[in-house]
């Protein structure tokens, strides 16, 4: 009896193992990508690429979960802590130190070396992710701010697009009419304002927030000059600018309420919600002060972080990223928002899949200007080959923008506000 029961149990166990084994062997590796490219057409483009990849790689299933920039700094660390983080997460350089501290972020140095051999990364794209003896994200696309306007508006006013601060302020004043604000610049305590004020800091010669020893040098004359000029321009901006993000600025430009805005791009909005006349859409580099020796604009090398140490999932994620970087796929990926996302690899910059997009063809001169502007782009906390991970605390609290609010909302002088801003930054990065 005992022997018969043992035999039955053995048969049952064997049957179970047999039924599970084939399923395990055949089930594809599932990996998830979190990204913050929420507009439906971007989600659709990413999905199209994922579907192609999944069809060509039946042993892997890549899926996407769009997230919100406003929540991701909270949600991503919480997901890592809870043990249900995605395998891949898009981000910007100052986001990586936060996740690295949690111990889940993978060093992608070897993977970058492989990709670099095939596609040749622009060194400036990789640099912000390289610190603490590792590389903490794979750069995917670049974004740079430019000054956008309508040529016809300047022609009607009898002025030329500005290249210096004096010309910029004069243009903002000249273009302010009963129906139009001369310029649209935000004053919200938000990332967009961080970006626009940093544009002016770069062009005032105040792009270095840190000394080389890691101490802060935010409070200096050049920074004060940048904030003073920003508040001078601000008087020609719409009164609801303190609650603006990128969307409001683009809408203000599209509906002709704002004559000029600083933005990564306006091409899609302009093409679909405004005149769509490529000859009239003007774009130039951010104007610069007389004292600036190294003008430029804020620039982000967006990357993808890998948050899994499971070998199978890591391999699947890397295979997807490598597939995405192939020139025939990379241009289509960048053109999920034509004219916004710029290549970070040499073969990507010449890829037909990038330049053949109908919108890029239509606005080719504007895209070429953006690419040219990106050559002098930089990001606070990641300048001159230095990387200071503590910038993530300053960035997450939008302290550049908060300093601006001390001036335009609370009425402090630029010098007082910048001094207070430095104190806030020291508190933020302190224990």
């Amino acid at each position: 009896m005992l022997r018969r029961n043992s035999l039955m149990i053995l048969v049952l166990a064997f049957t179970l193992v047999l039924s599970v084994l084939p399923a395990t062997a055949q089930s594809p590796v599932e990996v998830t990508l979190w990204h913050m490219e929420q507009p439906p057409h971007r989600v659709e483009r990413i999905q199209m690429l994922m579907d192609e990849f999944n069809a060509a790689n039946p042993d892997v299933v890549v899926s996407q979960e769009p997230q919100n920039w406003g929540e991701i700094y909270t949600k991503a660390p919480a997901s890592v802590a809870a043990g249900n983080a995605p395998e891949m997460l898009f981000g910007i350089p100052d986001f990586t130190p936060i996740l690295k501290d949690l111990g889940q972020l993978q060093d992608v140095s070897d993977f970058i070396a492989t990709l670099d051999e095939a596609h040749t990364f622009y060194p400036a794209a990789v640099a912000p992710y390289s610190y603490d003896e590792g590389i903490w994200a794979v750069p995917l696309y670049n974004m740079v701010h430019s000054l956008w306007f309508r040529n016809s508006v300047f022609e009607e006013a009898g002025i030329t697009p500005p290249t210096t601060w004096d010309e910029w302020l004069a243009a903002a004043e000249a273009l302010t009419t009963d129906d139009q604000y001369g310029v649209g610049i935000p004053a919200n305590r938000q990332l967009y304002t961080d970006q626009t004020i940093y544009n002016l800091m770069i062009n005032a010669g105040a792009d270095e927030i840190y000394n080389s020893d890691g101490t802060l040098r935010f409070a200096n004359e050049a920074t004060v000059a940048a904030y003073e000029f920003y508040s001078d321009l601000y008087q020609f901006s719409p009164p609801d600018s303190p609650s603006w993000t990128w969307g409001e600025a683009e809408a203000c430009f599209a509906n002709r309420t704002c004559a000029m805005i600083m933005q990564f791009t306006v091409i899609t909005t302009y093409d679909t919600q405004a005149e769509g006349d490529p000859a009239d859409l003007g774009v130039v580099a951010i104007p610069t002060s007389a004292d600036a020796e190294n003008p430029g604009a804020i620039s982000y090398s967006n990357g993808v972080m890998l948050l899994t140490d499971d070998p199978e999932k890591l391999e699947a994620s890397q295979r997807f990223i490598a597939w995405l970087m192939q020139p025939e796929n990379y241009g289509r990926f960048l053109n999920m928002e034509p004219g916004l996302f710029l290549p970070v690899t040499e073969d990507g910059a010449t890829a037909e899949s990038f330049w053949n997009d109908p919108l890029v063809v239509k606005y080719r001169s504007q895209v070429e200007t953006m690419v040219a502007n990106s050559s002098s782009g930089r990001l606070f906390g990641f300048t001159n080959g230095n990387t200071f991970p503590s910038i993530s605390a300053i960035s997450a609290q939008n302290l550049l923008a908060q300093t601006l609010q001390l001036i335009v909302i609370d009425g402090e002088t630029a010098a007082d506000a910048v001094a207070e801003g430095q104190v806030l930054m020291e508190e933020a990065i302190g224990e």
Binding site: P77, A78, R189, P238, D240, S243, A251, N255, I409
Partner: protein
């Protein structure tokens, strides 16, 4: 016989004592899992120095509380929370009373109006916020367009561009969202006041104001007490409307305590300090509830002083 009627039934015959506990046990376990455990964890967290969620921390005693009570930002946010509660209470009560008194009247379409008024309350917060941001926008918003077109203001108003303007706007929008809920409750309470009382008062020559203060207001005392208690606690803890509209700005002008807690925990990455603010806020609200119930409770039906 009379004893069997007047004495309350304690328990069904043959019903074991444990059955009652068994019925409430799942709920108690659920409450423990969703409220008690997080509460205890928050208190424990407030005595550590955890910055980012998921990272380890060390015991630091009362350091977070010491820093908190010395922080100007905390006391400013605390003051703003009190103004926020008061502003919302006054505005919502006035609007709710007016709406309830109007809706109590019988007029063509009054049933539709009673349903229609709660629309603003049932619409999701994020939709309310988007609608109001569009309406109040200085570059294309219909309210500013109307104000300028009617010559009321020479140029568009930036409702969120100054601290006072933003705080007043947020209070107004939140009140607009919540007053219908209170109006419906008040309407239900108003309909319970016997009409004969008003008729008798009219016969005695009472004015409208006299009827309001001597009949309507006392008749609503119980409801007003509950609304005062629940409304204050709910209003104090409102986060979504403020965050979605202003994120606590401009320049911290709309940063109430719940906003400060979020900002401290998830933008400054000082989770333990945020926990300390939560604990202090929780204790304050608990004390408020106890004092309110002790001194503001209406007399019970049997005429005794109100005690809960």
């Amino acid at each position: 016989m009379s004893a069997s009627i007047t004495q309350p039934r304690r328990r069904g015959v043959g019903t074991p004592r444990w059955l009652g506990y068994a019925f409430v046990l799942p709920l108690m376990l659920w409450l423990a899992a969703t409220i008690l455990i997080p509460l205890v964890q928050s208190v424990a967290l407030s005595f550590q120095n955890v910055r980012v969620i998921g990272t380890p921390g060390e015991f630091v005693g009362f350091a977070n509380y010491t820093r908190l009570f010395a922080s100007e930002r905390f006391w400013e946010a605390f003051g703003r929370s009190l103004i926020w509660v008061l502003g919302n209470a006054v505005l919502q009560t006035v609007l709710a009373f007016a709406a309830a008194l109007i809706l109590k009247q019988s007029f063509p379409g009054h049933r539709v109006a009673r349903i229609w008024i709660i629309l603003s309350w049932i619409v999701p917060t994020v939709v309310v916020v988007i609608i109001w941001r569009w309406l109040l926008s200085a570059s294309g918003g219909i309210i500013n367009y109307a104000l300028v077109a009617l010559g009321i203001t020479p140029e568009p108003i930036g409702f969120f561009s100054t601290g006072d303007g933003a705080f007043a706007s947020v209070i107004a929008i939140n009140s607009w969202r919540w007053f219908p809920f209170q109006a419906v409750i008040l309407l239900a309470a108003l309909q319970r006041i016997p009409g004969e009382l008003y008729e008798a008062a009219s016969v005695d020559g009472a004015s409208t104001l006299q009827k309001f203060f001597n009949i309507t207001l006392p008749g609503l005392q119980s409801v007003l007490f509950v609304m005062g208690l629940i409304g204050t606690l709910m209003s104090f803890n409102i986060f979504d409307v403020i965050w979605l509209l202003t994120q606590g700005g401009p320049s911290a002008a709309t940063t109430t305590l719940p906003v400060l807690i979020y900002d401290t925990g998830f933008r400054q990455f000082r989770l333990s300090q945020a926990a300390a603010i939560s604990v202090v806020t929780g204790v304050f609200l608990l004390l408020f509830a106890l004092v309110f119930m002790r001194f503001a409770a209406p007399p019970s039906d049997d005429g005794e002083e109100g005690r809960i």
